[in-house]
């Protein structure tokens, strides 16, 4: 019986599985974007006897980005009188400075489906104006008439006193299939972010719940009963949890790559890692500090990114724990072009998987980073272990339209590397961390090609290419623990609050191995919070000390002021048995399988090409060299030395 992890991406659906003898198997099939479950079932049939499926998907993001075939349901918002436009006004900023034709993201609920009722609670939770029950009852009829499928109920200050949301829900719940309550989805202050998250949740609820029930039915039909899903915060949750709060499923795929890096970091005893995942359309960077991945509390789904960070106001804010990732539009399929004044540019447009790079021969005519890598010899002419042939002549021809194809390739790759190095610098420097002290873990199909260039750009001295870099994210799914989250805003007694939250979680989940407590803390009157780990029992003086230490390290000073806990948060963790990564059994002798002209630093040189599976544990290769494998190529620059580690990972140092 196997446990199978499935990561559905835009181009490929990756499968990686643990067989009953503990060994790993993996493969990729083409994705079926309109009905992702088709590719899933097809792949599972190839494996045969499956006990459990762990799943990550981008279906939620794709739906909000307006992907064809994923039509959004009819959603209504019920809110405090005078405040129905909060989700349309947003934070009042515009996402682009100089563009007179900018637009804000279209509100997910149009104005004629945003309803106001009389009610008001103040910031202390006092009822200033009671909820008008007749108004709510009248709405109930109206929602039926309007054929509304899902509603968001969001009142001001409900995070401190949710009574009105409860009452409204008990009345309106009979009229619609899905109800999202703002204090349940995001029990935190800041009305725009809470309302927006609740509306996103209400929008995704019908879609995600239908997808998951369709998928579980298909799985049951082939005898698989257990389905688990990856949340954006890097833990596994069950299907019911996702159906209840689908907002936590949004960045499910990218989270898996960071989890995989963190788990491998533990095995390799590398406490500080930058996880770098470069695929076909984007590159993503996350940090692991002292073996823990970094969590952020907000994300904008469907937003545009600028140098790795999402531009505020360009998407729909979602406040929920997310693994903190910087993302740039740089992947194998990113297009190289010249603007009207002749400057060479890379991205942000991508040829994606269809038509893809010119060398794929599927109709792509615009040169991409993959074409540039191919022209410079950094990529071989065969992919996927020889089953896919690349057309180097076509790449040269396409790049020639922009100038000397070698020059253009070189420059385009440098520009892309600079952009990616910048994203990595952001995720570290923003927190006062120095990237030079980190080890870079590079994966994804294109990650190993660019890893050493980026390491040089950042003065990083150590790089690790994990086993199976092309499906490494999916491996993260097999390595994740269960993590269920609960939180309360403005707790009065800290320890009691945590105990209540933990009791709620225990009731929901059953067996819990341990709890992780956090508090979002600020100085009274400050406009932002820092997330602080909290001990057991929770003692406010300890929280204050930890908060001041962190404040000092990030901001460089502390204040003589009281602190305030804005949110108390608990994760209940249930550990899972991790698959063992077996050291490769290979002969001691190895030699290069061939050699080819490759661009290394400033010149084209003849370099040896090794097949990764020929390299035994302990093998040492001096750069320059190329290491090829099933779905990726590692470019080993001169002055770097590669050693094959105990688990078959490539450790590269200078």
């Amino acid at each position: 019986m196997s446990i199978v992890a499935i990561d559905v991406g835009g181009t490929f659906t990756d499968f990686i599985y643990v067989k009953s003898d503990g060994s790993l198997g993996y493969f990729k099939v083409l994705s079926t974007p309109r009905s992702p479950e088709i590719a899933i079932i097809n792949g599972l049939k190839l494996i045969g006897d499956v006990e459990e499926v762990i799943h990550a998907s981008t279906i939620a993001t794709n739906a909000l980005r307006g992907q064809v075939g994923l039509d959004l349901p009819r959603v209504a918002l019920i809110t405090t009188r005078g405040f129905r436009d909060i989700i349309e006004i947003g934070r009042q900023n515009r996402p682009r400075l100089y563009d007179p034709f900018f637009d804000k993201p279209r509100p997910l609920v149009p104005r004629d489906l945003r309803f106001e009722v009389d009610e008001r609670v103040d910031y202390k939770g006092n009822i200033v104006k009671p909820l008008n029950i007749e108004e709510v009852e009248a709405l109930s009829l109206k929602l039926r008439e309007l054929n509304v499928e899902s509603i968001a109920i969001a009142f001001l200050h409900s995070y401190i006193n949710p009574i009105h949301e409860f009452i409204a829900s008990s009345i309106l719940g009979k009229a619609v299939s899905f109800v999202s309550l703002s204090h349940r989805v995001v029990p935190e202050p800041r009305e725009y972010e809470r309302f927006s998250t609740t509306v996103v949740n209400a929008t995704l609820a019908p879609l995600v719940s239908r997808y998951i029930s369709r998928l579980s039915d298909r799985l049951k039909s082939i005898g698989i009963k257990r389905l688990h899903l990856m949340s954006s915060s890097g833990g596994l949750v069950d299907a019911n949890e996702v159906i209840d709060r689908p907002v936590q499923f949004i960045e499910s795929g990218p989270a898996a790559g960071v989890v995989a890096s963190a788990e491998l970091a533990k095995i390799l005893r590398e406490p500080n890692i930058i996880s770098f995942d470069m695929g076909g359309t984007t590159a993503k960077a996350g940090t692991i500090v002292d073996l823990e991945f970094e969590i952020t509390s907000e994300y904008e789904v469907g937003g545009e990114s600028h140098h790795g960070r999402i531009v505020k106001g360009s998407g729909y804010p979602v406040r929920f724990p997310f693994i903190d990732l910087a993302e740039v539009s740089a992947g194998g399929g990113t297009i190289i072009w010249r603007d009207e004044a002749g400057a060479l540019r890379v991205g942000p447009i991508s040829a994606g998987a269809d038509p893809g790079p010119v060398c794929y021969g599927r109709g792509g005519v615009k040169p991409t980073l993959t074409d540039a890598n191919l022209v410079l010899g950094r990529l071989g002419e065969y992919l996927l272990g020889g089953s896919m042939r690349l057309d180097r002549e076509a790449s040269i021809k396409a790049l020639s339209k922009l100038g000397d194809p070698y020059e253009v390739s070189r420059e385009a790759i440098s520009l892309a590397n600079l952009e990616m190095a910048r994203a990595i610098r952001l995720v570290t420097v923003e927190r006062g961390l120095d990237p030079e002290r980190f080890t870079l873990m590079a994966f994804g199909g294109a990650g190993p090609q660019h890893a050493l260039d980026i390491a040089e750009e950042l003065n990083i001295r150590k790089v690790i290419i994990p086993p199976h870099p092309g499906v490494f994210s999916a491996l993260g799914l097999l390595m994740a623990d269960w993590r269920f989250e609960a939180r309360t805003a403005f707790p009065t007694n800290l320890e009691d609050t945590y105990r209540t939250l933990e009791a709620e979680l225990a009731k929901k989940i059953g067996r819990v191995d341990y709890y992780v407590r956090y508090a979002d803390v600020r100085y009274e009157g400050q406009g932002w919070e820092l997330t602080i780990p909290v001990g057991r029992p929770a003692i406010i003086d300890d929280v204050r000390r930890a908060f001041e230490d962190k404040h000092l390290s990030i901001f460089g000073f502390t204040l003589n002021r009281d602190i305030e806990v804005v949110v108390a948060r608990v994760f209940a963790v249930v550990t899972r048995v991790k698959p063992r990564i077996e050291p490769p059994k290979r002969p001691k002798e190895f030699k290069a399988k061939s050699s080819r002209l490759t661009y290394i630093h400033d010149e084209m040189v003849e370099v040896p090409v090794y097949w990764r599976e020929d390299l035994p544990v302990g093998a040492v290769v001096e750069g320059p060299a190329l290491i090829e494998e099933y779905d990726s190529t590692t470019v080993l620059l001169d002055e770097w030395r590669l050693t094959v580690g105990e688990l078959g990972e490539l450790r590269i140092e200078r």
Binding site: G82, F83, R84, D85, I86, E88, I89, G90, R91, Q92, N93, R94, L97, Y98, D99, P100, F101, F102, D103, K104, R111, D122, Y123, V128, L156, H157, P189, R190, E191, Y192, E193, H307, K312, D339, E340, A341, A343, L344, E411, S414, L415, L418, E419, R422, R425, L426, V429, E430, R431, G432, G525, Q526, G527, W528, I554, F555, G556, F557, L559
Partner: protein
């Protein structure tokens, strides 16, 4: 040889990273959350190579501010040594208003200045009678706050604590000011370090060559954009309200193949109210409007600025002489300058220019004394509608043109101040009618729970934002006070008033003008 694109991109990243460093170590929410700060990298001549895109009014003002400072230093025989940093906020030199504190540092390599790094951040309070240092009643700049001429805050790497204390002790929020000033110094240190790393990596000559090509690129891309514009003259005028007067801003824009000239001859004389826009603001607003009219992604560096010439006669509202007060010139008059330039350009670049946006930042300043909280003061700005655009309607409820800050959440404001909001909604129907409607403004209303004093500094209360091509005006702004005793008071665009507990303030911001019939 390394290509200039790489040097240029790396330099933009340096400016951006300076911004991250500033934001990370700043203390005030104004910088941390609203990002009211900007950073730039300049070459050894003081020409802007790369800027981080933050606040438009800062960005354009660097060009004027840096060359003013360098000239001032030369005229006063001050030489910049390695490790020095100059601090100033004198608007007549730095080019915005007193709150915007500017810090400039030379970058030395082998004993010579090879570059400068600079940043500007809006300090919440720089002294003066009003919390927030925007005094609607000021008649001279001396009634606005502390004026700091260019002084060496850092000498050969050592911070001069005397100067630091002098500035900090003038602020009503000294701790915040200290934190934010240190953040500004840190940002420049980071920028200088990164510039030197760039030189170590690529060599001085390559870097200088790369910068000079990046400037050429900005210029040629800007000129390419002008190719599609109609050549010739276009004029426009618009007004700022002061009591019963109209202050005129008049512009004559000339577009040629080799550049653009904006001439403000005929604009009103400077006034003894805080509505004067120093030359730096006028240059920033003019260049902002021109940049908006360009369709491609023109880098905002010296190359772009070099195609623009601004003539603003001395002693006018758009180039006042000391001691005219300037706080509102930065936040209100700057908006009208952008409006008139855009209106003139609408004749020459018709498919690119929207009708007028709300044209006011609607500055709301409120504070008082409360037994529970002690002295409290709160500042917010409120966006409006953008104008209708060629081919689509305007956008509702956003900050337009010269500002782009975030609002303060109601749930946060109510916790911190004795106010309760009664409405926050789109001001339906306030956008001007037209083929493409103007975006709607915002209605934001609150009641005070304790006695308080309210000041508003806004504009466009008498005349709405203009429409274009037969589109109608947007609805003007409006402030009404509903007194607890039943009286209703309609207010002008600039006033100060005392409020009693239970009084409600209803603020309606202008909608954008309509475009086309």
């Amino acid at each position: 040889m390394v290509s200039w694109e790489i040097i240029y991109k790396a330099s933009v990243f340096i400016a951006e990273e300076m911004g991250v460093a500033l934001k990370r170590s700043a203390f005030s929410p104004n910088i941390k959350e609203r990002m009211d700060h900007s950073c730039a990298v300049l070459d050894s001549r003081g020409l802007i190579v790369a800027q981080a895109e933050h606040i438009p009014v800062h960005l354009g003002s660097f060009r004027v501010g840096v060359s003013n400072v360098l000239k001032w230093l030369k005229d006063n025989n001050v030489s910049l040594e390695e490790g020095d940093m100059i601090i100033l906020n004198d608007p007549y030199i730095s080019g915005t208003h007193l709150n915007d504190v500017m810090v400039l540092a030379p970058v030395y390599y082998k004993g010579e200045i090879i570059a400068y790094v600079v940043n500007k951040a809006h300090q919440v309070d720089v002294g003066g009678p009003m919390p927030g240092s925007m005094n609607p009643n000021a008649r001279t700049i001396y009634e606005e706050g502390l004026i700091v001429p260019p002084v060496k805050m850092v000498k050969r790497g050592r911070v001069d604590n005397d100067i630091m204390r002098l500035i900090v002790e003038n602020s009503k929020t000294p701790k915040v000011t200290l934190g934010d000033l240190n953040a500004q110094l840190a940002a420049n240190r980071m920028g200088a370090k990164r510039v030197l790393e760039l030189i170590d990596k690529y060599g001085l000559e390559e870097v200088i060559m790369g910068w000079s090509k990046a400037i050429d690129y900005g210029r040629s891309l800007a000129l390419l954009n002008l190719r599609d514009w109609r050549k010739g003259y276009s004029k426009a005028e618009d007004y700022i309200e002061l009591n019963d007067e109209d202050i005129t801003i008049r512009v004559l824009v000339e577009v040629r193949d080799d550049g653009i000239r904006a001439d403000y001859t005929g604009s009103s004389r400077q006034v003894d109210a805080p509505l004067n826009a120093v030359y730096g603001v006028t240059f920033a607003a003019t260049s902002y409007a021109i940049r908006v009219a360009m369709s491609s992604d023109v880098p905002v560096n010296e190359g772009f600025y070099s195609v623009i010439e601004v003539n603003a006669p001395e002693g006018t509202i758009v180039n006042p002489v000391k001691p005219a007060p300037v706080a509102g010139g930065n936040v209100e008059t700057s908006q009208r300058i952008a409006d008139v330039v855009l209106r003139a350009l609408a004749e020459l670049v018709p498919d690119r220019i929207p009708a007028a946006g709300s044209g006011t930042m609607m500055n709301v300043m409120i504070g008082g004394y409360d037994n529970e909280r002690g002295y409290w003061a709160y500042y917010e700005t409120i966006g409006g509608g953008t104008g209708g655009r060629p081919g689509k309607n305007g956008v509702s409820g956003v900050h337009v043109n010269m500002t782009n800050t975030l609002n303060t959440p109601i749930e946060v404001a109510e916790r911190n101040y004795p106010i309760i909001y009664t409405t926050y909604m789109i001001r339906n129907g306030s956008g001007g009618k037209g083929l493409y409607r103007g975006g709607d403004g915002i209605i934001r209303a609150f009641k005070v729970l304790k006695p308080a004093r309210l000041s508003i500094l806004a504009d466009r209360f008498k005349r709405g934002p203009y429409g274009l091509r037969g589109g109608e005006q947007g609805k003007p702004g409006r402030v009404v006070i509903n007194r607890i005793d039943g009286r209703i008071e309609e207010k002008p665009s600039k006033f100060t008033v005392d409020l009693n507990p239970g009084d409600e303030v209803v603020i309606e911001t202008p909608g954008g003008g309509g475009w086309g019939q």
